[in-house]
Symmetry: C2
Subunit: 197 residues, 2 copies
Amino acid sequence: MKLYDLELSGNCYKVRLLAALAGIPLDIVAVDFMAGEHKKPPLIDLNPWGEIPILVDGDVVLRDSQAILVYLAAKYAGETWLPKDPAGMATVVQWLSTSANEVQNGPGAARLVDKFGFALDKADTLRRAARILPLIEAHLARHAWLALDRPTIADCAVMPYVALAPEGGVLLADFPNIRQWIARIKALPGFVAMPGV
Amino acid sequence: MKLYDLELSGNCYKVRLLAALAGIPLDIVAVDFMAGEHKKPPLIDLNPWGEIPILVDGDVVLRDSQAILVYLAAKYAGETWLPKDPAGMATVVQWLSTSANEVQNGPGAARLVDKFGFALDKADTLRRAARILPLIEAHLARHAWLALDRPTIADCAVMPYVALAPEGGVLLADFPNIRQWIARIKALPGFVAMPGV
């Protein structure tokens, strides 16, 4: 099973993190991001979005880090990381949306500006970060993990760009619950880091 | 089962659409959006995000339209609208991310500016719309439905803010495959419309 990957991508790291925590072997294929390899054939044919990660498992080709987390959890990790009961599954999916929208366009995008020079509106990314981080902080005042009473793919999806927020100039000093939650994830058996986390 | 709802919200309409197509009864509770009812108790306690829709089904309380679609499909609609096999489920989830991010922040946000006077960067919303609509158009050149060989919650999640795009000044004239896909959805048994669709 191939993961087209960039070490510095938080979206790719989400997948490597779940795979490490759940013991799922991945064949990591490094993509030359700076050369735009992901925007040319053959990768653009695997993912017309022109983004990584991309997962290829036999005939299955998936774009989108959240979708890849769902696939890996459902196929290889049983219900531990993604429950099958409708309420539990939907509670996790709430956070997959938060990851894809508020976290990606907030702290994730702020980092793209500062670290990779993306021509995005930095003030807009900071406004979005200033909205979502206090919501996550307040949630974690009452919960050890985002979705359920154990770590799930919700935590794998949201943590990377939250932990990387300081690389976009978004500090976590005022968010002790978030820092403790990141520490809890780092203490899980099998945890792997990435640069900046 | 209560849906806290706004008739003019595409996110709320996603839920009403699936419920209508799949024959799931909903008790619609109209929220006074202009008065900010969703940003005050008791609704802010149900969803700290300060957004609608919110679904309440007994003890289950869910924010986020994508998560609500997953819940309704998994609990009440069987595998027709959301398959249980990992590849099928993940293929659908790809489009839930597209809905939460690219569609919401593109055509969805352009409409918020034009129709509701939201103080967002209109040019940014148009740039995002100009990226995602051609990707959807190209996908629909090869597929009748977004995720699988039948309508799923992927279509319910993505269609509303694509069909409403003209209300944000984003025209669909150059996207015949999208217009035909919208027409296919409108022809499904049980389809319900919303103003602008």
